[in-house]
C-alpha cells in the first residue's frame, strides 16, 4: 500500500463526486483507470481492492445534501440540545450550533448584537454545554437568483437545516461544558488581553492570522484579498503551521532550554492545542495533523511518503466528519497541498528563491481554478505574480511579527516599537495592493465552469505539469497554450451564443430587470433597485452585493451598455451608484422629467457614464435593439406616474415595461396608442391595486404577467384585486416572491417564441 494511499483517497473523492453530481460516469472512468493500471502491472491487487472497498464504504457514508423547508411557527419556541461548536463572536452577532436532543437536527442559533459595546457575559454558554434555548425558528434562505449565494445550501452542507434567532442571551439557559471548552476560554482570554493591549487594526490582523477569525479585518481588505486571490493568507494553513513549528523549534533548541527530542515531543503536544486556538478550521487542522503524523512516523522510524500522509489525513477527516468534504476550505486546502506535494520534483529543479515562489504560486492557483470559479466566479491571472511578492511578506514579516506581538504583549516598550513597525509597513503594503487594484485589475469573470470542461482542464494541466517536470519545454509549451486557449473559449462563449436572456431578478420589494442580447451584443438593465434603511432612507448595498453583482458575475458580464431608470424611487434605482462604481456602465437613460441630483450626476460623469434624457414616441436603439418610449406623455406631480414606460420585442414576443405607473397613466397610454397589444406585461407598481386597470388589460391583451414583489412585503403587493383581474383575463402569472427570478430565453433570428423558466421550479 505504501506509496499508493492516494488511490484509495481518490476513490473517496470519486464517491463524493458520484453523490454530488449523481452520475456514475466518474465512477466508470475511475474503475476503468485502476483496472487498466492493474492489468499493466502498475497497481497491486491490494490497492485495487482497497480502492473499491473505500469507494463503496464512502459512497454509503458521505451524505447527499437534502433540504426540507419547514413551516415554523412565528412565535418563540423552546429547544433543548447540546452545543456542538465553539461560541463564535463577531462584531455583529454571536453564533453557535445546537444539536437538538429530540429532533436530532443541528440548529444554527444566532444572537444579533444591538450595538458593539454590549457586554457579553453569559459565562455558562460553552462548547459541550446542555442548553435550553428560546427563540424564533426559521428555515435558512435559499438562493432565488442566478449566481446568488445559496445560504440554505451552504448550511445544509454542514448538516444545519434550521436557524433560530434569540432576542437576548438570557434566553439561553446552559449547564456543563466539554473539555474542549477550556481551550475555547484560553483562546478567548488571550483575545481579550490582546484587544486591550493593541490598536484595533493590529488586533484585527492578529485575530485573523493567529486565531483564524478574520471578522474584524475591514470588508474592503477582505474583498481586496479576494480580488487578488490572496485570501489563502487569511486562512491559517500549512504556511502558518510550518512557521510556528520552525519558530518554536528554534526557540526551544537554540536557546538550549531542552534537547532536540524533548523539543519534538513538546511541539507534538502543542500542535493539536494550537490547531484549536487557531480556530479549528479544516485548513489549520489539516496542516497540524499532517505535521503531527510526519513527526510520529519519524519517531517510530516508519518510512512514509508525503502523498501517503496527506491521503491518510484526508481519509481520516472524512471518516471523522462526513460533511467536511463539502467544506470549501477543506476542498481548497487539500487540493493545493496535494498539488504542491506532487510538484516536489518540479519545484526542486534549478532551485532559486524567486523561481520557486513563482512555481508555488502558479501551482496553487492552477490546481484550484475550477473550484475558484465555482465559489468566487472570478480568477485574476496577475494574482500569480502578486502572490510571489505578498506570500514572502506575510511569511517572513507579518506572521512572525504578529506572533512576536503575542509574546511581547506584557512588555510595554518593545511591543509598542514592534507594533509601530508592523502598522507602518502593513499600511504601505496594503496601499500598494490598492494602487495595483486601481490600475491592473483585469480578472476573468465567469460562473462555474461546465463539468465536462473541468475534466479537460485537469487533463491539460496534468499534461503541462508532466512535461514541465521532465523539462520537455516544447511539449509543455503546447499544453500551456492549449490550457489558456481552452479557458478563453469558455470565457468567450456568451459572445458566440445565439441565445438571449431576460431575467427579472428577485430583489425582494423592488425592481431589477436584466436583458442580455444574443451574442453578448448588449447588456441592458431596466431598473436596479435596492432596499433602504428606515433610519436615513438611504439605499443599502445588500441587494447589489447579494443579487445584482453575483448575477452579472455568474454570466461573465463586466460591461453594461445601458441602464433605464424608470423613476426616482429607491426600490427602482437604489443600486445604480454601486453598479456604476464597479462596472463599466456606458449610459443611463431616464425620462425628460426625471430629476438627477447634481452630486449623483457628477459622480456618474466621473465614472464615464453618460446620461440620456428621452421623451415619448422616441425609439432608442441599444446595440441595435430598439426600445420605444410610450410614456411619460406629460409631466405629472407623481414620480410614479412619470415612470419611463418602454415597449420592445424579444424572442418574437412583445414586452411592456411599466415602472410604477398607476391607472391614470395606463388609460392615457391606451388612448394615445390605440389598438396596441403586448404579449408580456411587467405589471406596474409591484401589483399594487392602484395600477393594472381591467380596461387596460382588456385592451393590450397580454398572455403573461410578471410581478416583482418582496416575500410577505408590508404593502401587501401584489394586491388580490390585481391578481383577480389578471386571472379573469387568463394571464399566466409569474412572480418573484413565489418563483424567484423569472428567466426568459430566446434564440436570435429564429421563428420560435422564447420560453419562461422559474428559478424556483
Amino acid at each position: 500500500m505504501k506509496g499508493y494511499w492516494h488511490i484509495p483517497a481518490i476513490s473517496v473523492v470519486v464517491a463524493f463526486l458520484t453523490i454530488y453530481f449523481s452520475t456514475c460516469l466518474i465512477l466508470f472512468g475511475f474503475i476503468g483507470w485502476i483496472l487498466w493500471m492493474y492489468v499493466g502491472k502498475r497497481l497491486s491487487i491490494e490497492v485495487l481492492f482497497a480502492s473499491l472497498i473505500f469507494f463503496f464504504f464512502f459512497f454509503n457514508y458521505i451524505p447527499s445534501v437534502t433540504f426540507s423547508v419547514m413551516d415554523y411557527p412565528s412565535q418563540q419556541v423552546e429547544r433543548t440540545g447540546k452545543v456542538v461548536s465553539s461560541i463564535k463572536k463577531t462584531p455583529k452577532k454571536i453564533e453557535l450550533l445546537l444539536l437538538d436532543f429530540q429532533t436530532k437536527e443541528t440548529i444554527l442559533v444566532q444572537y444579533f448584537l444591538e450595538n458593539n459595546h454590549e457586554s457579553l457575559t453569559n459565562i455558562s454558554l460553552q462548547r459541550g454545554a446542555t442548553c435550553r434555548v428560546k427563540g424564533k425558528m426559521q428555515s435558512p434562505e435559499r438562493s432565488t437568483n442566478p449566481g446568488q449565494f445559496d445560504y440554505a445550501l451552504y448550511l445544509a452542507k454542514q448538516n444545519i437545516t434550521a436557524e433560530m434567532t434569540i432576542a437576548s442571551l438570557d434566553d439561553c439557559i446552559c449547564s456543563g461544558s466539554s473539555s474542549l471548552s477550556k481551550i475555547d476560554s484560553l483562546r478567548e482570554n488571550m483575545q481579550r488581553t490582546l484587544i486591550e493591549t493593541y490598536e484595533h487594526i493590529t488586533y484585527a490582523w492578529m485575530n485573523g492570522l493567529i486565531f483564524g477569525d478574520d471578522s474584524l479585518i475591514s470588508e474592503e481588505n477582505i474583498e481586496l484579498f479576494r480580488r487578488w486571490n490572496l485570501s489563502h493568507l487569511l486562512a491559517i494553513s500549512g504556511l502558518h503551521v510550518g512557521l510556528i513549528i520552525t519558530i518554536l523549534y528554534f526557540l526551544l533548541v537554540k536557546t538550549g532550554i531542552v534537547t532536540k527530542e524533548k523539543a519534538q515531543l513538546l511541539i507534538m503536544l502543542f500542535l493539536p492545542i494550537y490547531a484549536l486556538i487557531a480556530g479549528g478550521e479544516p485548513s489549520v487542522l489539516r496542516a497540524s495533523v499532517m505535521a503531527l503524523l510526519v513527526m510520529i512516523f519519524l519517531k517510530m522510524k516508519i518510512k512514509m511518503g508525503i502523498t501517503d500522509v496527506i491521503s491518510l489525513v484526508f481519509i481520516l477527516f472524512v471518516l471523522l466528519d462526513k460533511y467536511i468534504i463539502y467544506h470549501v476550505g477543506f476542498q481548497l486546502s487539500f487540493l493545493v497541498s496535494f498539488g504542491l506535494i506532487i510538484s516536489k520534483r518540479w519545484l526542486l529543479l534549478h532551485p532559486s528563491f524567486i523561481l520557486t515562489l513563482l512555481k508555488i504560486s502558479f501551482i496553487s492557483q492552477m490546481v484550484i481554478l475550477p473550484v475558484q470559479f465555482a465559489y468566487f466566479m472570478q480568477f485574476h491571472p496577475l494574482s500569480i505574480l502578486l502572490n510571489v511578492l505578498i506570500v514572502p511578506y506575510f511569511s517572513f514579516f507579518v506572521i512572525p511579527c504578529l506572533f512576536l506581538l503575542l509574546i511581547l504583549a506584557p512588555i510595554p516598550f518593545f511591543r509598542e516599537f514592534v507594533e509601530a513597525l508592523f502598522l507602518q509597513s502593513h499600511s504601505i503594503v496594503l496601499r500598494m495592493i490598492n494602487k495595483l487594484d486601481e490600475f491592473m485589475y483585469f480578472p476573468w469573470i465567469n460562473g462555474s465552469l461546465p463539468n465536462w470542461f473541468v475534466f479537460i482542464y485537469y487533463g491539460l494541466l496534468i499534461g503541462l505539469m508532466l512535461y514541465m517536470e521532465r523539462e520537455k519545454v516544447k511539449e509543455a509549451f503546447s499544453f500551456g497554450i492549449a490550457l489558456t486557449v481552452s479557458i478563453m473559449c469558455i470565457l468567450i462563449q456568451p459572445y458566440l451564443s445565439s441565445y438571449g436572456t431576460l431575467t427579472m431578478l428577485d430583489i425582494g420589494q423592488g425592481d431589477s430587470f436584466l436583458m442580455e442580447l444574443p451574442f453578448r451584443k448588449g447588456v441592458i438593465f431596466y431598473d436596479v433597485g435596492s432596499t433602504f434603511s428606515f433610519e436615513d432612507m438611504q439605499p443599502t448595498e445588500q441587494v447589489y452585493k447579494q443579487v445584482i453583482k453575483p448575477a452579472l458575475h455568474s454570466k461573465g458580464v463586466q460591461k453594461i451598455d445601458a441602464v433605464f431608470l424608470s423613476h426616482e424611487d429607491i426600490d427602482h434605482i437604489g443600486s445604480i451608484d454601486f453598479l456604476v462604481k464597479e462596472f463599466e456602465v456606458d449610459e443611463i437613460i431616464v425620462s425628460e422629467f426625471y430629476k438627477v441630483p447634481v452630486k449623483q450626476e457628477q459622480f456618474w460623469k466621473e465614472q464615464g457614464t453618460i446620461i440620456r434624457y428621452v421623451r415619448h414616441n422616441e425609439v432608442i436603439s441599444i446595440s441595435g435593439h430598439p426600445f420605444k418610449v410610450l410614456s411619460p406623455l406629460r409631466k405629472t406631480d407623481s414620480d410614479n406616474e412619470n415612470s419611463l414606460v418602454l415597449y420592445s420585442e424579444f424572442g418574437n414576443m412583445s414586452w411592456l415595461f411599466t415602472g410604477d405607473i398607476g391607472k391614470q397613466t395606463e388609460k392615457a397610454i391606451i388612448q394615445q396608442y390605440k389598438g396596441f397589444e403586448v404579449d408580456i406585461l411587467r405589471v406596474g407598481h409591484h401589483g399594487s391595486k392602484t395600477s393594472t386597470d381591467s380596461i387596460f388589460i382588456e385592451q393590450i391583451e397580454p398572455t403573461y404577467a410578471l410581478i416583482s414583489a418582496g416575500r410577505k412585503n408590508r404593502y401587501g403587493h401584489p394586491a388580490p384585486e390585481v391578481l383577480d383581474v389578471l386571472k379573469k383575463h387568463q394571464l399566466q402569472i409569474l412572480r418573484t416572491d413565489k418563483d424567484g427570478a423569472i428567466i426568459f430565453r430566446y434564440q436570435a433570428d429564429s421563428d420560435k417564441k422564447g420560453h419562461f423558466q422559474k428559478f424556483i421550479p
Binding site: K2, G3, Y4, H6, W33, M37, K41, R42, L43, K303, M304, G305, T307, D308, I341, I342, S343, K344, R345, W346, I462, M465, L466, M468, E469, R470
Partner: protein
C-alpha cells in the same frame, strides 16, 4: 511493500505529475543504487557503442585493420558502461549466481531495444550467445538467455559452444587470437541480432558472426547490456 534488489532498503514510490495518471512500473532498485548505474549517453562509437569522441573508436579501427575491412559484425549497441558498481552487480549476478538480479535491467533492456533497435530490424532473429555445457552446469543459467527472455521478437538457439575456457581470465591478445569455439547447428538466411551481457573486446560476437555469415546469414548485429 517493496525493497531494493541491491541494498534491500525500503522503497516508496514518489507520486509526481508524471506518474499521477499513468502509475509508474514497480521499481527494482532504490534511487541511490539506480543512480550508480551509468547509462551510456552522449557521444559514442557508431560501431561498438563505446564512449568515444570520434565516430569510430580506436578499438574498432584496430578491428578494421585486423580484419582488412571485412568485419562480420555490422554494429553493436550497449546500454550501460562497465563502472565499479556494475562490476559488483555483474559479479554477484553471474559468478555468484544471484539470478533475480537480472530484473534490475529489465525495464531499460526492453526500452532500449524498442527505441534503438526494433524499428530498424523487424525481420531480424534474436540469438543469445550460448555457454558451453560445462559452464552452464556450474552457473545453472545463461546470462544472455536471461536477457533475451525480456524481448518478444523471434528468437532461436542454433549455436553451441565447445571451448569452456573463461574469456574473462584471458588477456586481450589471447582473446582476439583464440580459436572460434562456436558451432552452428543449422544455417540461417535472415539478419541476426546477437544478445550478450558484455561486449569487452568484441571477439565473441565476431566469432559467432563469422560462422553465421559463412553459412549464409546476410548481416549480424550485437545487442549487449554493457560496453566494457
Amino acid at each position: 511493500m517493496s525493497y531494493c534488489l541491491w541494498c534491500a532498503s525500503e522503497m516508496i514510490t514518489e507520486t509526481t505529475w508524471s506518474n499521477l495518471l499513468s502509475l509508474s512500473q514497480p521499481q527494482k532498485l532504490c534511487k541511490t543504487c539506480k543512480g550508480k548505474l551509468q547509462i551510456i549517453t552522449g557521444n559514442r562509437c557508431q560501431k561498438c557503442s563505446r564512449e568515444s569522441k570520434s565516430k569510430i573508436c580506436t578499438d574498432c579501427k584496430y578491428w578494421g585493420k585486423l580484419l582488412k575491412n571485412n568485419d562480420p559484425l555490422e554494429k553493436n549497441y550497449s546500454i550501460y558502461s562497465y563502472n565499479e558498481f556494475m562490476k559488483e552487480v555483474i559479479a554477484k549476478w553471474k559468478y555468484r549466481g544471484d539470478y533475480v538480479l537480472v530484473e534490475i535491467f529489465q525495464t531499460e533492456f526492453i526500452r532500449h531495444f524498442n527505441t534503438y533497435i526494433k524499428n530498424q530490424m523487424k525481420e531480424a532473429i534474436i540469438i543469445p550467445i550460448p555457454l558451453s555445457k560445462e559452464r552452464l552446469a556450474t552457473r545453472k543459467f545463461n546470462q544472455a538467455q536471461a536477457l533475451t527472455s525480456f524481448i518478444t521478437q523471434d528468437k532461436i538457439n542454433i549455436l553451441e559452444r565447445v571451448n569452456s575456457e573463461k574469456q574473462a581470465k584471458k588477456s586481450r591478445m589471447e582473446r582476439i587470437q583464440s580459436e572460434n569455439p562456436f558451432n552452428l547447428l543449422e544455417p540461417i538466411n535472415k539478419p541476426v541480432i546477437l544478445v550478450d551481457d558484455i561486449y569487452t573486446t568484441g571477439t565473441t560476437l565476431r566469432h559467432v558472426a563469422q560462422i553465421l555469415k559463412d553459412n549464409g546469414c546476410p548481416s549480424v548485429y550485437g545487442y549487449t547490456l554493457i560496453r566494457g
